[in-house]
């Protein structure tokens, strides 16, 4: 149980490791998407290139943006970038670090898609089948066909069942050729990405490691501070709601006592605690009135002074109750502006 809680807390506490998890899931999702997607080459001269390149490039772009959208840090980055300076200076190195780390993670799923697409070969076959070198691979001396006709015939290479240019160039030969080029491109792409990743990881400590450590620390700090602020606000809202509701019920019971002041309450001495727990509501009529009043006339967001030192009206008028864990400066910059 403790171990589980520890793992859970580890993932939650560190946004980066959480993002690593999401990143891995997205990479798997991208391979799954590719295998589930039914590639359907149009086999028409101009459409082939558009379709093939579209399938090669549009989904990676979508996955890249999705990597940003799913990353909670993006709004944190934008917030940190756009906030007024106030009493806390801004460090552009921290912003750059956050952006780079987000971009690196977001690049993984698109790279996986592109590699899988190239290694599979259907995309390149569809896109470049009209550019196959007929002179070297096939029978170029086909006098009856015009250029346009040849293009139309070549465009049907990916569609075996409607291919009618066997005399011009054998379907098998063309497909094999294109596939071979596609796979070579795919492996080169994977090699290039891996070398880049290796260089980035191994060369970084050689340049400004101290500055890097500082940026990393402060970016984690901003993340944790924001989470703690949200948690503290939620805690505060809970306590506020509890006291508000308690005072509502107390108010109701005071009103009742005032209304029925000619009937003394016959509560026995030792029923104090029970009566308190019953919030002064001891019959159906009173409860119905309480429920009706809760809907028709909700209590104001203003806790009475004896219970809470400072009240809090709507729209942030006045100072909200501050907590020791929340830095005063941050509160001032968010609340005192209204």
């Amino acid at each position: 149980m403790d171990k589980f809680r520890m793992i859970f807390q580890f993932f939650q506490s560190n946004q980066e490791s959480f993002m690593n998890g999401i990143c891995g899931i997205m990479a798997l999702a991208s391979t799954q998407m590719y295998s589930a997607f039914d590639f359907n080459c149009p086999c028409l001269p101009r459409y082939n290139l558009a379709y093939g390149l579209g399938i090669l490039l549009v989904p990676p772009f979508i996955l890249f943006l999705l990597g940003f959208v799913l990353n909670n840090n993006i709004s944190m980055l934008a917030e940190e970038w756009r906030r007024p300076q106030g009493q806390r200076g801004k460090d552009p190195a921290v912003l750059r670090y956050m952006f780079c780390s987000m971009a690196q993670r977001a690049m993984i799923a698109p790279a996986v898609w592109v590699s899988v697409t190239l290694l599979d070969g259907k995309c390149i076959t569809c896109a470049f089948c009209t550019s196959v070198p007929v002179e070297t691979l096939g029978n170029a001396s086909h006098p009856r066909l015009s250029q346009g006709e040849i293009q139309r015939v070549l465009a049907r290479i990916p569609c075996k069942e409607i291919y009618n240019g066997q005399e011009l160039i054998a379907n098998e030969v063309a497909v094999r050729y294109l596939r071979c080029i596609s796979q070579a491109l795919g492996w080169c792409f994977v090699l290039l990405m891996t070398i880049l990743a290796f260089l980035v990881r191994s060369l970084r400590p050689c340049f400004s490691q101290a500055a890097f450590l500082k940026s990393r620390y402060w970016s984690h700090y901003i993340d944790i501070e924001r989470k703690l602020f949200d948690e503290t606000c939620a805690e505060h809202a809970r306590s506020f709601a509890k006291v508000c509701i308690q005072q509502f019920f107390e108010g109701m019971s005071t009103d009742l006592v005032a209304a029925h002041c000619h009937l003394p309450r016959k509560a026995p001495v030792d029923a104090g605690e029970a009566a308190e727990k019953l919030l002064g509501i001891t019959d159906r009529g009173t409860m119905n009135m309480a429920l009706k009043s809760w809907h028709r006339c909700k209590p104001p967001l203003h806790l009475h002074p004896p219970v809470i030192p400072t009240g809090n009206g709507w729209a942030g008028e006045g100072q909200p109750p501050t907590h020791a864990s929340v830095p005063r400066r941050e509160t001032a910059s968010y609340y005192s502006w209204v």
């Binding site: 589980f4 039914d38 359907n40 149009p42 506020f240 309450r265 727990k277 001891t282 006339c297």
Partner: protein
């Protein structure tokens, strides 16, 4: 058991994560629904378009409504919007925030359905095969217009004897599928760009107001939950008191009827307290009958403490 409680509490504590979970489940359900649905194009000139556009648009509406129904926050928002002002002003910014977050989450599953439909292609092939230009495809060029419509309408049906192996049918099918997939990917791209811009640009405008709206919408949600919990607690205590009062009055009645029987000493008296003086079958039956025929009034203001 502890583990479940912890996970449960984690999800419950943040109603946003509950809603995200529901939203994801609905999206998965929509993909599963589409793959298990047996799309069967009627292959008749007038019916094709109606059937396929129906399949493309009616389930998303259903999924959207499901997304609204399953989201607890929609009720909270409606209640906050429609309640009388009373002593508490209404915060329109919080209501707007809740509304937009509910809408965004409810839109995910319908959008997933539409995109999966477009990427699959069957719907669009069925809808627009009749609107194709027969001149573009060799097999349909020299046929009379009426027959052309019939043949084009049969394009989505692969098992048709007439059109099954026709290469022109396959060409039309491929062409429409290509457009359908291009449309699907384009819509997905536009939506993702919109989501990205929304997330990136939101903190640039009115961040302070947004934080306030978010806080107060969260507050309204929590307050509602705590009110319900308090009412539950109260009704528990109320019921307890009511039943105690009922048993006590039963005991008084029994004492009155059996006042001639001498008391049997302190030790037994202690035991009898737990049994409320009800010690034989007849008395129990009388108690149960009394509970059914004459439930006690909902008023514990005069009850004496035990």
């Amino acid at each position: 058991m502890d583990r479940f409680r912890m996970i449960f509490q984690y999800f419950q504590s943040s109603s946003e994560s509950v809603m995200n979970g529901i939203c994801g489940l609905l999206a998965l359900a929509s993909v599963k629904m589409y793959s298990s649905f047996d799309f069967s194009c009627p292959c008749l000139p007038q019916y094709n378009m109606a059937y396929s556009l129906g399949i493309m648009f009616v389930p998303p509406i259903i999924l959207f409504l499901c997304g609204l129904i399953l989201n607890r926050q929609s009720l909270v928002m409606l209640e906050e919007w429609r309640r009388p002002q009373g002593r508490r002003k209404k915060d329109l910014a919080a209501i707007r925030y809740m509304c937009s977050s509910i809408m965004q989450r409810a839109m995910v599953a319908p959008v997933v359905w539409i995109i999966v439909t477009l990427l699959d292609g069957k719907c669009l092939i069925c809808a627009f095969s009749g609107s194709m230009d027969p001149e573009k495809f060799v097999g349909f060029a020299n046929v009379s217009p009426v027959q052309v419509q019939q043949l084009l309408a049969k394009v989505p049906c692969k098992d048709d004897e007439l059109m099954g192996n026709n290469t022109s049918r396959k060409a039309v099918s491929r062409y429409l599928r290509c457009w359908s997939q291009a449309l699907g990917w384009s819509i997905l791209l536009i939506l993702i760009i919109a989501a990205f811009l929304a997330r990136w640009l939101r903190p640039c405008f009115n961040q302070a107001t947004l934080l306030q709206a978010r806080h107060w919408s969260n507050y309204i949600d929590i307050e509602q939950k705590i009110f319900e919990e308090t009412c539950c607690e109260h009704s528990r205590l109320f019921a307890h008191k009511c039943i105690l009062h009922f048993f006590e009055s039963m005991r008084q009645e029994i004492k009155l009827h059996s006042f001639s029987r001498p008391r049997e000493g302190e030790g037994v008296e202690g035991k009898e307290d737990l049994l409320w003086g009800i010690t034989d079958q007849d008395q129990v039956n009388k108690l149960l009958k009394g509970w059914y025929y004459e439930k006690p009034p909902l008023d514990v203001s005069q009850v004496t403490q035990r």
